[in-house]
Symmetry: C2
Subunit: 463 residues, 2 copies
């Protein structure tokens, strides 16, 4: 049966690619109000695709802004239930002028397909749908499925915690497949067992009541842009550590066993530099790159704006300055506590010459998963069968907040199985998906679903 499904997949690559491009051409940017209709069209496109696959219950369920696409497939009650998570929204495209092709007109160049969302994460979502189509064509879908595809991931999944809590019975399952993942390289499969959380803030410093003439007032009024720079500068010490009070208190230390596991990641600082386009790496002293990005929390300035930023010279002393600042968190840091630490830092360091505000925009917990469960073994086997080499374990720097939500609400670890690559340029210009990896991904999903159907014994056959 795997072979028949895999042959179907191989002989339908052109058609699969066309469907993939169609999905990418809808600009489902969840953060921009002007794209609200496009986000909904994307949800409807997916619902139609799921109906064509024979799902027995397909519906758009309301959320804060953009709907959840829910679907079910009942194969056999003695087979396990797999809950599948994905998101169909994408990041904004700015800076647009740095894209070599239109972000919503997918273009193949070499082995890659370029478009916003190609890698994060329409590629893996389409790969999974095509794996299911291949299994159906080759004899049948081997287990029970539930789909939860959200449209608000890139705005911090504001509805998801409530949605999952509210629908705990509906979402009951034996395992979770989260397609929002990546492998280490085209020939280096990997399984992510750790994810960082996120706490995202807007920090604003307010000075004079309006922009002032910098000559008339310069030297007598504290410049809010300067103050914000000083506050941001103080958020790291000379060792690259974050200085917010208590920031590291709840960080789970790395065990020797886990450091050994992470040391097996075939990471090269040289290729990491090439991928980022920098000459020298940076970060907390005394830790490897893999440890810093996977197992340690960080603080980033995602954006900053103040005063005059057009072409030419304008001599203002700005009235205010704003920064977007986010922290990547690791288990067991609590995002709500981070907001308190940020405010404590601001209270301690902001001068009396200005006022300030630090607003939380979104947050999510980090997560660590068991490396020895039956679903995890099914995934490891599927990757080894597909790539011909054993996958290694890694922790990832990015955030997939739904993973910790599902741990907390449903008591289920997620299997992070997706086919993005680290150099796909997600969230930036010229995002791409490596097409050979996309096609291997379809085969990896076929094998995972078959392995899981065999390996997992349903906990409860009543769902």
């Amino acid at each position: 049966m795997p072979q028949a499904a895999i042959e179907y997949a191989r002989s339908h690559r052109d058609a699969f690619l066309e469907d993939y491009k169609t999905l990418l051409s809808i600009p489902s940017v969840s953060t921009l109000p002007e794209n609200e209709g496009d986000v909904r069209r994307t949800a409807e496109w997916l619902a139609d695709a799921l109906r064509r696959l024979g799902m027995t219950r397909v519906e758009l369920m309301p959320a804060s802004v953009h709907p959840v696409v829910y679907a079910e497939y009942r194969a056999d009650s003695v087979k396990p239930v797999l809950l599948i998570y994905g998101h169909y929204d994408v990041q904004p495209v700015d800076p647009l002028d740095e894209w070599r092709s239109d972000p919503f007109k997918p273009e193949v160049r070499g082995e890659n397909l370029y478009a916003r969302g190609a890698s994060d994460m329409k590629g893996s979502m389409v790969a999974l749908l095509k794996a299911i189509e291949s299994l159906k064509a080759a004899g049948g879908i081997p287990l029970n499925l539930k789909f939860l595809l959200e449209g608000e991931e890139e705005i911090g999944s504001p509805s998801l915690p409530g949605f999952i809590e509210l629908h705990r019975d509906l979402l009951r399952a034996d395992a979770v497949l989260n397609c929002d993942g990546s492998i280490y390289g085209p020939d280096a499969p990997s399984i992510t067992y750790g994810l960082r959380g996120l706490a995202y803030f807007e920090v604003e410093v307010l000075g004079p009541k309006q922009d002032l003439h910098s000559g008339v007032f310069g030297g007598s009024v504290h410049n809010p842009a300067q103050v914000l720079c000083e506050l941001i500068a103080g958020m790291h010490d000379a060792e690259g550590r974050v200085t917010l009070p208590g920031f590291y208190d709840r960080v789970r230390p790395l065990s020797d066993e886990e450091r050994a596991v992470l040391a097996q990641v075939p990471h090269s600082d040289e290729s990491w530099k090439a991928m980022a386009g920098v000459k020298v790496l940076w970060g907390e002293k005394g830790l490897s790159t893999i440890e810093r990005i996977g197992a340690r929390p960080t603080l980033e300035v995602n954006g900053i704006i103040s005063g005059f930023t057009g072409a030419g010279a304008k001599t203002v002393l700005p009235a205010k300055a704003l920064a977007k600042i986010s922290m990547r968190l690791v288990a067991d840091q609590d995002p709500a506590a981070i907001h308190g630490q940020l405010c404590a830092y601001m209270r301690e360091h902001a001068p009396e010459t200005v006022t300030w505000d630090a607003r939380e925009l979104s947050h999510g917990h980090g997560a660590l998963m068991r490396r020895d469960s039956a679903p995890m073994r099914a995934a490891i086997k599927a990757l080894e069968e597909t790539f011909g080499v054993k996958p290694f374990f890694k922790r990832e720097g990015g955030s997939v907040p739904v993973v910790s939500m599902m741990q907390q609400s449903l008591g289920l670890d997620s299997i992070m199985l997706g086919f993005a690559l680290p150099d796909d340029g997600i969230h930036g210009p010229n995002e791409k998906q490596h097409l050979p990896t996309f096609f291997k991904g379809i085969e990896g999903y076929i094998r995972f679903l078959l392995n899981l159907a065999e390996a997992v014994v349903p906990a409860d056959s009543s769902h």
Copy 2:
């Protein structure tokens, strides 16, 4: 004769105001390419007005971007020649949403007229033209005049040094009136004898080749926004002093006599705070506010931008960060040397994880003028006659680079006589001109021209 001219001025206030509003309604923003035609229309409007006043030679002379309006009036060769400087361009209007009325639809609210350029400096320019009209109607213009009105002041007067050097003979004069000035308060006339210079830069920090995902790369790649903040934070020490190497080396120290003169400025920190809209003032320790803004150099962040600055959350690690940074300079600082100091600071402090660039956008020297010259006495007398109180001397925080150019090329001090007020909000939203001060300004100019015609003996009657 003063009385007849002043009565004419008083009886024509409505008509004067209408002409003033017409001039303000042309958006002569010199820095924006889309306003190039408007800047030219403004020059033509002024040329027509000068022709109507009977100037004998009126022409638009080419400059880098926007023309110089040049005009002459020959009254009598035994009378002195006054060279008049003004600029007819204005600053951009952003942030537009903070204006209570359209910046190019002048609106009177209370005693003030609100429009971009109302105070800086179409108001004083119109006041002078109306003073000349009043003198002409009341018997004749009492001295020889030359006009140099530029359209590039708000972009740093790129053509002016060359223009003045090239036209040294044409511009020969016995005194210079620079209308780009202000008085201390509606009932507190003052004369500015010191101006700060300006050196304006764009500082850019470049990190990864493109925006990166802050989760994937955060903690391994140095964030250019964070680096730029750290560099800016280091540009001031805890005493509020600028840390660029050698920055204070050529600053002319304040003498006890001059500190005593400046102590007579009826300055109140309380009203300065109210004007700026801040609760606490700031600046270099150990100096009065008047000393800090007039006699000491400063460094300001005029703008900063990096990464994602729209609504919502985007988790990028930005590829680059840019700041507009300008220094207000005092005699005898050299703007070219400041560029060297900035680059030396950057070389010393920028980490090896990034590259950087510091480009000069514009610069101008500071200036100090004699307080005891005949033209200065003519101005002091005119203000005292108009306001009923003796004016005091002050040094100003802003920059009027043409003043030092005329000192250097023509050997002439400028009389800074203009009728802006410090709370006019120039360069910011809701710029305004206090109308009672505008009308007093017309009378002040009438008296200044008459006093000057009497007091100054022409150095050379051949021009």
